[in-house]
C-alpha cells in the first residue's frame, strides 16, 4: 500500500508540475489542483498509513489512526478550495480584461488590448 501511495504522490506531482509549466492559465490551474491533491496525500501519509483502525476514540481499542495529520489535511482541503477559487477568479478577470489567457506577458502587451 505504501508503494501505491508513494507512486500516486509522485505521479500527481509530476503531472501537476508539467501542467504548471504550461503557457495558458487553465492548465496551470489544473496543475495546481493536482499538486494540492498530492500535497494532501503526502501530509496524510506522514501519519503512516493504517487499514481498518478506528478513527473514533472508544477507550478500549489497541490502536487508533493518527488524528493529527487528518485534522491538518481537512483544513488544507477546504483552504485549497478557497485558494483555487481565488486563482480561478484572477485568471478569469485577467482573461476578460486582456482577452488573452497567456501566462507569460511582455511589457508591451500588458493592458493595451482592452481598448483595441
Amino acid at each position: 500500500m505504501e508503494y501505491l501511495v508513494s507512486i500516486a504522490v509522485g505521479v500527481l506531482v509530476a503531472g501537476g508540475t508539467y501542467l504548471v509549466l504550461r503557457l495558458r492559465t487553465f492548465p496551470v490551474i489544473l496543475g495546481i489542483s493536482l499538486l494540492s491533491y498530492a500535497v494532501n496525500l503526502f501530509l496524510f501519509s506522514s501519519g503512516r498509513l493504517a487499514l481498518n483502525l478506528p478513527p473514533i476514540w472508544t477507550g478500549d481499542a489497541a490502536a487508533y489512526t493518527d488524528p493529527l495529520p487528518q485534522a491538518l489535511v481537512l483544513t488544507a482541503i477546504v483552504i485549497s478550495f478557497g485558494m483555487t477559487a481565488v486563482v480561478v477568479m484572477l485568471a478569469l478577470s485577467a482573461y476578460l480584461t486582456a482577452r488573452d489567457d497567456r501566462i507569460d506577458t511582455r511589457d508591451d502587451d500588458a493592458g493595451g488590448r482592452d481598448q483595441a
Binding site: 500527481l12 504550461r22 485534522a71 478550495f81 481565488v86 477568479m89
Partner: protein, 669 residues
C-alpha cells in the same frame, strides 16, 4: 591592518593620518580576536584600552594645531616644538606610545600582540603572521614618528597661516589627563588597567581569562626582537620618507572609498545581470527555475544523509486499491495528454478527486473522505463556471524541446516527491508523536470521541479560527474582483455579448427542478445530522457547511440564478461575518469566564422524551465554522455566476421554462 597603515603613512592631513592609523589598529584588534585564543582576546581588550588612551589625545592635538595654525596639512607644518612646547610634549608621548616605545602602554600591548603573532601558524607557515605583524608594527611606528618629526621637529617656519602658540588650559587639560594614563598604564599596567582588562576580557571570552600578568618587561623574547625591528624600521622609513612618498604618489592610489565603490558596483552589476537572466518577466521561467532549484536542493539533502532504510512492515495491496491506484495514474496521464480539451480535463480531475477521497476512506480517515468528496463537487462547479467564459481549449504552442524540458523537469520533481513520501512511509517516527496526547485527552478534555473534530474545534481551535477567516477573505476577494470587473468596461462588454450558440431549449428542465427541490430539505437534514454528530462521529462544521453549500448550488443550477437569488434572504457576506463572530464570541466567552481564549467546556443535559445529550461550547465554535464555510463557498460561486448576466434579461417569473400545467392553463384560456 597593513592597508590602513600604508595609506595613513602617506596622508598629509593630520586627521586623515590618524584616521587611517585607527583603521590599522582596528585591523590589529580584529586580527587578535581572529587568532581565537583566550590570550589573544585579552591582548585585544588591553589594546582597545591603550588605543583609546593614546589615539584620543592625538586627535585632540590635531584639533589644537588646526585651531592654532589654521591648517592640518603636514606639509605646511614643522618646527612647532619651539612654538607649542606643551602640545609637543603631550603629542610626543601619545605618538611614541602608538609607535610602541617603552615604557608607554602602546609598547606593552604591541609587544603582547607580537608575542601572540609569534606563535600563530597560518597557511602552513610559521613566519607569515609574525612577519606581517612586524611589518604592521613597523609602518605604525613610521607614521607615529612622522607625526612627531614632520609637525613638531625641524626649524620653525614663517609661513604658517596663523601664528601658533600653546592654547589655554581648557584645550590641553583633556589630552594631558589621557597622556598621564598612557604613562601610568605603561609603568604599572597591572595596577592601573589590570581589573578592567580582566573583567572585559572575561566577558569577551565567556569564561575566566587565562593566567597572565600585565608587565612592562617580558625579558628577551622573540617579540622584543620584532619590536626592535619595527622601531628601527620605522626610523629608516622616516629617514627615507621623501623617496618613498614619490614612489607612493607614482603608484596607484589606494582609496578606501573608491575600492568600496568599485566592489559595490561590481556586485550590483553581477546582481543585475543575474536577476535579468532569471527574471525576464516569464512566469513559467520562474516556476521552472524554482522547481529545478528544489530538485537540486532535495538531491543534495538526499545524498548528504543516510536514509534509515526500510524499518516498517508494509500493508498489503488488495485488488480494489490496486484498481483505484491504476485509475488515478491513468487519469493523471490523461490530463497531461489531453489537457488541451479543457472540459475533458475536468472530468479526469473529478476522477482523481474521487479516487483520493476513496483512498482516505479506505485508509481509516472518514472525515477526510467526506470533506474531499464535497470539496470535489464545489471545485468542479467552480471550474465549470470559469470555463463558461474562458476558451474551451488550450492551443498547442509549446515547442517539442520545451515539452521535453518540462517533461524531464516534471519527472524529476515527481520522482523526488515519490521517493520522499516512500522514505517517510518506510521509517518510524523519529520521536514520539503528539497524537497520543490528543487521543488520550479528546474525551476527558474536549468531550468528544471524534478526535479529528476535537482537534479542529478545541485543541487547535485558534488555528481553525484563522483558517475560516482566510476562507472568508478569499471569498470576499473574489466578490471584490467580480464587482470591479462588472463595473468596468469588461462588465459592459459581457452584458451585450451574443447569446451562446447551441443553447438548450430548456435551460431549467422540469425533472431537475423537481428533483432538486425535493432533495433540498433532505440534504439540509443530512447536513444538520453531520453537523450534530461531528463531535463524536465523522462529520462536523466543515463538512456540513460544504453539504449545505452544494444543496444551495443545486437550486441555482436547476431553477436559475435569478429564481434562487430572489429566495435567498441573507447576503453571503453576512453569513461569513456571522460565522466568524460566532467563533469569536465562543472564544471570548471563555475569556470572560477567566479561561484562556477558546477554552471549551461541555456538559450533559436531559430533556423529556429524548436521550441524555451532550452540549459543548466547541459546538458553538463549530457552528461558526459551518456558517463561514457556507458563506464563503456560496459567495465565491455566486460572484462567478453574476458575470453571466446579460443586459435586458428579465428574471423569469416561472422556475421552469416548460411547465405542463402552465401550458394547460394557456390552452384553456
Amino acid at each position: 591592518m597593513l592597508v590602513g597603515a600604508f595609506i595613513g603613512l602617506f596622508k598629509n592631513d593630520l586627521k586623515a593620518l590618524l584616521a587611517y592609523s585607527t583603521v590599522s589598529h582596528l585591523g590589529l584588534i580584529t586580527m587578535l580576536l581572529g587568532f581565537g585564543t583566550p590570550m589573544a582576546a585579552v591582548v585585544a581588550v588591553f589594546h582597545i584600552i591603550n588605543h583609546a588612551t593614546f589615539k584620543a589625545p592625538l586627535f585632540m592635538v590635531a584639533g589644537i594645531i588646526d585651531h592654532e595654525a589654521h591648517t592640518r596639512d603636514i606639509r605646511r607644518l614643522g618646527g612647532l616644538r619651539h612654538l607649542m612646547p606643551l602640545t609637543f610634549g603631550i603629542a610626543s608621548i601619545a605618538a611614541l606610545s602608538m609607535a610602541g616605545i617603552p615604557p608607554l602602554n602602546g609598547f606593552i600591548s604591541k609587544e603582547m600582540m607580537l608575542e601572540e603573532a609569534a606563535h600563530t601558524d597560518w597557511l602552513g607557515s610559521a613566519w607569515l603572521v609574525p612577519g606581517l605583524a612586524t611589518l604592521g608594527a613597523l609602518i605604525s611606528a613610521a607614521y607615529s614618528f612622522r607625526f612627531i618629526a614632520h609637525v613638531f621637529l625641524g626649524p620653525p617656519r614663517h609661513d604658517y597661516p596663523a601664528r601658533p602658540h600653546d592654547p589655554p588650559i581648557g584645550f590641553w587639560i583633556a589630552p594631558a589627563v589621557l597622556v598621564i594614563l598612557v604613562v601610568a598604564i605603561g609603568l604599572q599596567p597591572a595596577l592601573v588597567a589590570g581589573p578592567l582588562v580582566a573583567l572585559a576580557s572575561g566577558a569577551v571570552i565567556g569564561e575566566a581569562p587565562p593566567a597572565y600578568t600585565l608587565k612592562l618587561w617580558h625579558g628577551f623574547t622573540p617579540a622584543l626582537l620584532m619590536s626592535a625591528i619595527a622601531i628601527a624600521g620605522g626610523l629608516v622609513v622616516l629617514a627615507a620618507y621623501r623617496a618613498l612618498n614619490r614612489l607612493w604618489l607614482r603608484g596607484p592610489r589606494l582609496e578606501a572609498k573608491s575600492i568600496f565603490d568599485a566592489i559595490l558596483d561590481r556586485l550590483v552589476g553581477w546582481a543585475v545581470s543575474l536577476t535579468r537572466a532569471l527574471h525576464d518577466g516569464a512566469m513559467t521561467r520562474y516556476t521552472a527555475i524554482f522547481m529545478a532549484t528544489v530538485v537540486l536542493a532535495g538531491t543534495g539533502a538526499w545524498l548528504g544523509g543516510a536514509g534509515p532504510g526500510v524499518a516498517r512492515e508494509f500493508l498489503p495491496i488488495g485488488p480494489v486499491p490496486a484498481i483505484g491506484g491504476l485509475l488515478l495514474l491513468v487519469a493523471t496521464g490523461c490530463i497531461v495528454a489531453f489537457h488541451h480539451n479543457r472540459l475533458l480535463a475536468l472530468i479526469f480531475i473529478g476522477v482523481i478527486g474521487l479516487i483520493v477521497s476513496l483512498a482516505f476512506a479506505y485508509l481509516s480517515a472518514p472525515d477526510l473522505a467526506l470533506t474531499q468528496a464535497s470539496v470535489e463537487v464545489v471545485t468542479i462547479i467552480l471550474l465549470l463556471l470559469a470555463l463558461n467564459f474562458l476558451p474551451k481549449s488550450t492551443p498547442r504552442e509549446s515547442s517539442g524541446g520545451r515539452r521535453l524540458r518540462d517533461g524531464i523537469l516534471a519527472s524529476l520533481v515527481g520522482l523526488g516527491a515519490g521517493l520522499l513520501t516512500f522514505q517517510i512511509q518506510a521509517s518510524n517516527f523519529s520521536q514520539a508523536s503528539i497524537s497520543a496526547y490528543h487521543l488520550a485527552n479528546a474525551k476527558p478534555g474536549g468531550g468528544g470521541t471524534n478526535v479529528v473534530n476535537v482537534i479542529l474545534v478545541d485543541f487547535r481551535g485558534f488555528d481553525t479560527f484563522g483558517e475560516i477567516i482566510v476562507l472568508g477573505i478569499a471569498a470576499l476577494v473574489i466578490y471584490a474582483l467580480t464587482e470591479t470587473l462588472l463595473a468596468g468596461a469588461v462588465g459592459r462588454r459581457l452584458a451585450v455579448r451574443p447569446p451562446d450558440t447551441g443553447e438548450a431549449g430548456d435551460s431549467h428542465p422540469l425533472m431537475m427542478v423537481i428533483a432538486t427541490r425535493v432533495m433540498m430539505p433532505i440534504t439540509l437534514m443530512v447536513a444538520l445530522f453531520i453537523f450534530l454528530r461531528g463531535h463524536n462521529q465523522p462529520g462536523g462544521g466543515f463538512i456540513a457547511g460544504l453539504v449545505v453549500a452544494i444543496a444551495l448550488i443545486m437550486q441555482y443550477m436547476a431553477s436559475g440564478f435569478d429564481w434562487a437569488a430572489a429566495r435567498q434572504k441573507y447576503p453571503y457576506h453576512g453569513i461569513i461575518a456571522a460565522g466568524i463572530f460566532a467563533a469569536l464570541l465562543t472564544g471570548l466567552g471563555s475569556l470572560v469566564l477567566g479561561y484562556p481564549f477558546l477554552t471549551s467546556s461541555y456538559g450533559y443535559f436531559k430533556l423529556p422524551f429524548i436521550e441524555k445529550f451532550e452540549l459543548a461550547t466547541a459546538m458553538a465554535f463549530d457552528a461558526g465554522v459551518f456558517l463561514c464555510v457556507v458563506g464563503a463557498v456560496m459567495l465565491a460561486l455566486e460572484s462567478l455566476s453574476r458575470l453571466a448576466h446579460r443586459r435586458g434579461e428579465r428574471p423569469s417569473p416561472y422556475p421552469m421554462d416548460i411547465d405542463p400545467s402552465r401550458t394547460a392553463q394557456t390552452e384553456k384560456a
